[in-house]
Protein backbone atom coordinates (compact mmCIF):
# COMPACT_ATOMS: atom_id res chain seq x y z
CA UNK A 1 0.00 0.00 0.00
CA UNK A 2 2.70 2.46 1.04
CA UNK A 3 4.79 1.40 -1.94
CA UNK A 4 1.87 1.99 -4.26
CA UNK A 5 1.42 5.49 -2.89
CA UNK A 6 5.13 6.23 -3.41
CA UNK A 7 4.96 4.95 -7.01
CA UNK A 8 1.85 7.01 -7.69
CA UNK A 9 3.48 10.10 -6.17
CA UNK A 10 6.57 9.67 -8.39
CA UNK A 11 4.35 9.36 -11.48
CA UNK A 12 2.27 12.41 -10.59
CA UNK A 13 5.34 14.53 -9.88
CA UNK A 14 6.91 13.39 -13.15
CA UNK A 15 3.72 14.16 -15.06
CA UNK A 16 3.49 17.57 -13.48
CA UNK A 17 7.02 18.55 -14.44
CA UNK A 18 6.59 17.14 -17.92
CA UNK A 19 3.47 19.27 -18.28
CA UNK A 20 5.19 22.40 -16.97
CA UNK A 21 8.09 21.78 -19.37
CA UNK A 22 5.71 21.53 -22.32
CA UNK A 23 3.74 24.55 -21.15
CA UNK A 24 7.00 26.47 -20.94
CA UNK A 25 7.58 25.79 -24.64
CA UNK A 26 4.36 27.68 -25.43
CA UNK A 27 4.61 30.39 -22.83
CA UNK A 28 8.23 31.51 -23.00
CA UNK A 29 8.81 34.13 -25.64
CA UNK A 30 12.43 33.76 -26.65
CA UNK A 31 14.26 30.89 -28.43
CA UNK A 32 16.97 30.66 -25.76
CA UNK A 33 14.36 30.77 -22.99
CA UNK A 34 12.40 27.96 -24.65
CA UNK A 35 15.54 25.86 -24.59
CA UNK A 36 15.30 25.77 -20.79
CA UNK A 37 11.93 24.01 -20.80
CA UNK A 38 12.98 20.69 -22.42
CA UNK A 39 16.04 20.37 -20.18
CA UNK A 40 13.60 20.40 -17.30
CA UNK A 41 11.27 17.78 -18.73
CA UNK A 42 14.17 15.38 -19.18
CA UNK A 43 15.50 15.68 -15.65
CA UNK A 44 12.63 15.52 -13.18
CA UNK A 45 9.90 14.50 -15.62
CA UNK A 46 11.65 11.47 -17.05
CA UNK A 47 13.50 10.83 -13.78
CA UNK A 48 10.28 10.47 -11.82
CA UNK A 49 8.83 7.93 -14.26
CA UNK A 50 12.05 5.92 -14.19
CA UNK A 51 12.20 5.86 -10.38
CA UNK A 52 8.56 4.75 -10.27
CA UNK A 53 9.38 1.99 -12.76
CA UNK A 54 12.35 0.77 -10.68
CA UNK A 55 10.29 0.68 -7.47
CA UNK A 56 7.43 -1.08 -9.25
CA UNK A 57 9.68 -3.78 -10.66
CA UNK A 58 11.23 -4.50 -7.27
CA UNK A 59 7.92 -4.48 -5.40
CA UNK A 60 5.58 -6.30 -7.75
CA UNK A 61 7.54 -8.24 -10.37
CA UNK A 62 9.59 -11.41 -10.14
CA UNK A 63 12.86 -9.75 -11.07
CA UNK A 64 13.89 -6.28 -10.04
CA UNK A 65 14.98 -4.08 -12.89
CA UNK A 66 17.69 -1.43 -13.00
CA UNK A 67 17.53 -0.85 -16.75
CA UNK A 68 16.10 2.57 -16.02
CA UNK A 69 19.35 3.83 -14.55
CA UNK A 70 20.91 3.45 -18.00
CA UNK A 71 18.20 5.62 -19.56
CA UNK A 72 19.03 8.31 -17.00
CA UNK A 73 22.73 7.95 -17.78
CA UNK A 74 22.17 8.27 -21.53
CA UNK A 75 19.86 11.25 -21.05
CA UNK A 76 22.45 12.99 -18.90
CA UNK A 77 25.04 12.47 -21.62
CA UNK A 78 22.90 13.44 -24.63
CA UNK A 79 20.66 16.26 -23.34
CA UNK A 80 23.44 18.83 -22.75
CA UNK A 81 24.90 18.13 -26.20
CA UNK A 82 21.52 18.68 -27.88
CA UNK A 83 21.03 21.91 -25.96
CA UNK A 84 24.54 23.01 -26.89
CA UNK A 85 23.93 22.40 -30.60
CA UNK A 86 20.61 24.22 -30.59
CA UNK A 87 22.10 27.23 -28.85
CA UNK A 88 25.06 27.26 -31.24
CA UNK A 89 22.64 27.33 -34.17
CA UNK A 90 20.80 30.14 -32.44
CA UNK A 91 24.02 32.11 -31.94
CA UNK A 92 24.79 31.82 -35.64
CA UNK A 93 21.36 32.84 -36.82
CA UNK A 94 20.17 35.49 -34.44
CA UNK A 95 22.70 36.84 -32.01
CA UNK A 96 24.88 39.85 -32.70
CA UNK A 97 28.44 39.47 -31.54
CA UNK A 98 28.28 42.80 -29.75
CA UNK A 99 25.39 41.71 -27.55
CA UNK A 100 27.23 38.78 -26.01
CA UNK A 101 29.48 39.30 -23.00
CA UNK A 102 33.24 39.35 -23.50
CA UNK A 103 34.94 35.95 -23.38
CA UNK A 104 37.42 36.03 -20.56
CA UNK A 105 40.72 36.97 -22.21
CA UNK A 106 39.96 35.17 -25.47
CA UNK A 107 39.39 36.74 -28.86
CA UNK A 108 35.91 35.37 -29.43
CA UNK A 109 33.42 32.61 -28.70
CA UNK A 110 34.24 29.38 -30.52
CA UNK A 111 31.02 29.37 -32.58
CA UNK A 112 31.56 32.89 -33.88
CA UNK A 113 35.30 32.60 -34.41
CA UNK A 114 36.14 32.77 -38.12
CA UNK A 115 39.47 31.98 -39.72
CA UNK A 116 40.95 35.04 -41.37
CA UNK A 117 40.56 33.69 -44.90
CA UNK A 118 36.81 33.09 -44.55
CA UNK A 119 34.45 35.63 -46.14
CA UNK A 120 32.22 37.91 -44.09
CA UNK A 121 29.03 36.05 -43.11
CA UNK A 122 25.78 37.33 -44.52
CA UNK A 123 23.79 39.32 -42.02
CA UNK A 124 20.86 37.16 -40.98
CA UNK A 125 19.97 38.82 -37.70
CA UNK A 126 16.48 39.82 -38.75
CA UNK A 127 14.27 37.53 -36.66
Amino acid sequence: MVVEIIIAACLVIAGFFGLVGSFGLIKLDHPMARLHAPTKATTLGVGGVLIASVIYSFAFEEHGSLHELLITLFLFITAPITANFISKAYLHRHELEEELPEPNGDTNWATLERPEWSPEPEKTQEG
Binding site: T39, L73, N84, S87, Y90, N104, D106, N108, A110, L112
Partner: protein, 163 residues
Protein backbone atom coordinates in the same frame (compact mmCIF):
# COMPACT_ATOMS: atom_id res chain seq x y z
CA UNK B 1 51.83 -5.76 -16.64
CA UNK B 2 48.66 -4.91 -14.77
CA UNK B 3 48.67 -1.54 -16.54
CA UNK B 4 48.80 -3.37 -19.88
CA UNK B 5 45.67 -5.37 -19.15
CA UNK B 6 43.78 -2.51 -17.49
CA UNK B 7 44.78 0.72 -19.24
CA UNK B 8 41.63 2.34 -17.81
CA UNK B 9 40.52 0.51 -14.67
CA UNK B 10 37.51 2.83 -14.14
CA UNK B 11 36.40 2.38 -17.74
CA UNK B 12 36.64 -1.39 -17.30
CA UNK B 13 34.43 -1.21 -14.21
CA UNK B 14 31.97 1.13 -15.90
CA UNK B 15 31.66 -1.02 -19.05
CA UNK B 16 31.09 -4.14 -16.96
CA UNK B 17 28.39 -2.36 -14.98
CA UNK B 18 26.70 -0.95 -18.09
CA UNK B 19 26.71 -4.38 -19.73
CA UNK B 20 25.07 -5.93 -16.66
CA UNK B 21 22.47 -3.15 -16.60
CA UNK B 22 21.77 -3.63 -20.31
CA UNK B 23 21.23 -7.32 -19.75
CA UNK B 24 19.19 -6.51 -16.64
CA UNK B 25 20.32 -9.63 -14.75
CA UNK B 26 23.08 -10.12 -12.20
CA UNK B 27 24.30 -13.68 -12.89
CA UNK B 28 27.98 -14.67 -13.06
CA UNK B 29 27.73 -15.33 -16.83
CA UNK B 30 26.69 -11.77 -17.57
CA UNK B 31 29.43 -10.49 -15.29
CA UNK B 32 32.10 -12.45 -17.14
CA UNK B 33 30.92 -11.31 -20.59
CA UNK B 34 30.83 -7.75 -19.28
CA UNK B 35 34.31 -8.11 -17.85
CA UNK B 36 35.65 -9.45 -21.16
CA UNK B 37 34.16 -6.42 -22.95
CA UNK B 38 35.43 -4.17 -20.19
CA UNK B 39 38.97 -5.48 -20.65
CA UNK B 40 39.11 -5.53 -24.44
CA UNK B 41 37.36 -2.27 -25.31
CA UNK B 42 39.82 -0.11 -23.31
CA UNK B 43 42.79 -1.97 -24.83
CA UNK B 44 41.48 -1.54 -28.39
CA UNK B 45 40.58 2.12 -27.90
CA UNK B 46 43.63 3.06 -25.81
CA UNK B 47 45.28 4.67 -28.85
CA UNK B 48 42.48 7.25 -29.06
CA UNK B 49 43.00 8.48 -25.49
CA UNK B 50 46.54 9.83 -25.52
CA UNK B 51 46.06 12.47 -22.79
CA UNK B 52 43.32 10.99 -20.69
CA UNK B 53 42.84 12.81 -17.41
CA UNK B 54 44.03 11.17 -14.21
CA UNK B 55 41.37 11.16 -11.53
CA UNK B 56 42.98 12.49 -8.37
CA UNK B 57 40.11 11.92 -5.96
CA UNK B 58 37.60 9.44 -7.43
CA UNK B 59 35.76 9.28 -4.09
CA UNK B 60 34.73 12.91 -4.48
CA UNK B 61 32.77 12.01 -7.63
CA UNK B 62 30.08 10.50 -5.39
CA UNK B 63 29.76 13.74 -3.41
CA UNK B 64 29.65 15.72 -6.67
CA UNK B 65 26.90 13.53 -8.12
CA UNK B 66 24.80 13.90 -4.96
CA UNK B 67 25.18 17.69 -4.99
CA UNK B 68 24.23 17.88 -8.66
CA UNK B 69 21.17 15.63 -8.14
CA UNK B 70 20.04 17.80 -5.25
CA UNK B 71 20.53 20.95 -7.34
CA UNK B 72 18.60 19.46 -10.25
CA UNK B 73 15.56 18.86 -8.05
CA UNK B 74 15.83 22.27 -6.40
CA UNK B 75 16.27 24.26 -9.59
CA UNK B 76 13.56 22.23 -11.37
CA UNK B 77 11.11 23.58 -8.81
CA UNK B 78 12.52 27.10 -9.20
CA UNK B 79 12.13 27.01 -12.98
CA UNK B 80 8.63 25.51 -12.75
CA UNK B 81 7.65 28.44 -10.53
CA UNK B 82 9.15 30.90 -13.01
CA UNK B 83 7.31 29.29 -15.94
CA UNK B 84 3.99 29.15 -14.11
CA UNK B 85 3.91 32.40 -12.18
CA UNK B 86 6.29 34.90 -13.72
CA UNK B 87 5.29 36.95 -16.75
CA UNK B 88 7.70 37.10 -19.66
CA UNK B 89 8.21 40.82 -19.12
CA UNK B 90 9.23 40.34 -15.48
CA UNK B 91 11.79 37.68 -16.35
CA UNK B 92 15.37 38.91 -16.65
CA UNK B 93 17.26 36.60 -19.04
CA UNK B 94 21.01 37.13 -19.15
CA UNK B 95 24.15 35.96 -20.87
CA UNK B 96 26.88 35.18 -18.36
CA UNK B 97 30.58 34.59 -18.97
CA UNK B 98 32.01 31.96 -16.67
CA UNK B 99 35.82 32.21 -16.68
CA UNK B 100 37.39 28.76 -16.42
CA UNK B 101 40.16 27.63 -14.08
CA UNK B 102 39.81 24.07 -15.39
CA UNK B 103 42.26 23.07 -18.10
CA UNK B 104 41.46 19.50 -19.16
CA UNK B 105 38.80 19.19 -21.90
CA UNK B 106 37.08 16.35 -20.02
CA UNK B 107 36.60 18.46 -16.90
CA UNK B 108 35.28 21.40 -18.93
CA UNK B 109 32.85 19.07 -20.70
CA UNK B 110 31.53 17.74 -17.39
CA UNK B 111 31.15 21.29 -16.08
CA UNK B 112 29.28 22.39 -19.24
CA UNK B 113 26.99 19.36 -19.00
CA UNK B 114 26.31 20.03 -15.33
CA UNK B 115 25.39 23.65 -16.04
CA UNK B 116 22.94 22.56 -18.72
CA UNK B 117 21.40 19.77 -16.63
CA UNK B 118 20.67 22.09 -13.73
CA UNK B 119 17.69 23.90 -15.26
CA UNK B 120 17.71 27.67 -15.37
CA UNK B 121 21.12 27.74 -17.00
CA UNK B 122 22.22 26.42 -20.41
CA UNK B 123 25.78 26.28 -21.65
CA UNK B 124 25.70 27.85 -25.10
CA UNK B 125 29.32 28.00 -26.13
CA UNK B 126 32.95 27.81 -25.11
CA UNK B 127 35.44 30.51 -26.00
CA UNK B 128 37.87 29.92 -28.86
CA UNK B 129 40.85 29.04 -26.66
CA UNK B 130 38.79 27.37 -23.95
CA UNK B 131 39.17 29.96 -21.22
CA UNK B 132 35.50 30.73 -20.63
CA UNK B 133 31.99 29.29 -20.98
CA UNK B 134 29.03 31.24 -22.34
CA UNK B 135 25.99 30.50 -20.18
CA UNK B 136 22.41 31.60 -20.77
CA UNK B 137 20.24 32.14 -17.68
CA UNK B 138 16.46 31.93 -17.82
CA UNK B 139 15.97 34.39 -15.00
CA UNK B 140 18.97 36.06 -13.39
CA UNK B 141 18.39 39.33 -11.59
CA UNK B 142 22.02 39.12 -10.47
CA UNK B 143 24.20 37.52 -13.19
CA UNK B 144 27.38 37.82 -11.10
CA UNK B 145 25.84 35.66 -8.38
CA UNK B 146 25.09 32.93 -10.95
CA UNK B 147 28.70 33.00 -12.11
CA UNK B 148 30.11 32.85 -8.57
CA UNK B 149 27.70 30.05 -7.70
CA UNK B 150 28.82 27.93 -10.66
CA UNK B 151 32.48 28.56 -9.88
CA UNK B 152 32.32 27.77 -6.17
CA UNK B 153 29.75 24.98 -6.28
CA UNK B 154 30.77 22.95 -9.34
CA UNK B 155 34.07 24.11 -10.74
CA UNK B 156 35.99 24.03 -7.46
CA UNK B 157 34.84 20.43 -6.88
CA UNK B 158 35.67 19.34 -10.41
CA UNK B 159 39.10 20.87 -10.03
CA UNK B 160 39.69 18.65 -7.00
CA UNK B 161 38.53 15.57 -8.90
CA UNK B 162 40.39 16.14 -12.18
CA UNK B 163 43.40 18.34 -11.49
Amino acid sequence: MLKRIFPHPYLTALLTLVWMLLDNTAGPGVFIVGLILGIFIPIITAAYWPDRPVLKHPIKIAAYVLIVLYDIVKSNIDVALIVLFKSNAARKPAWVTVPLDLKTPEAITVLAGTITMTPGTVTADVSAQGSALLVHCLDAPDPDAVRDDIKSRYEARLKEIFE
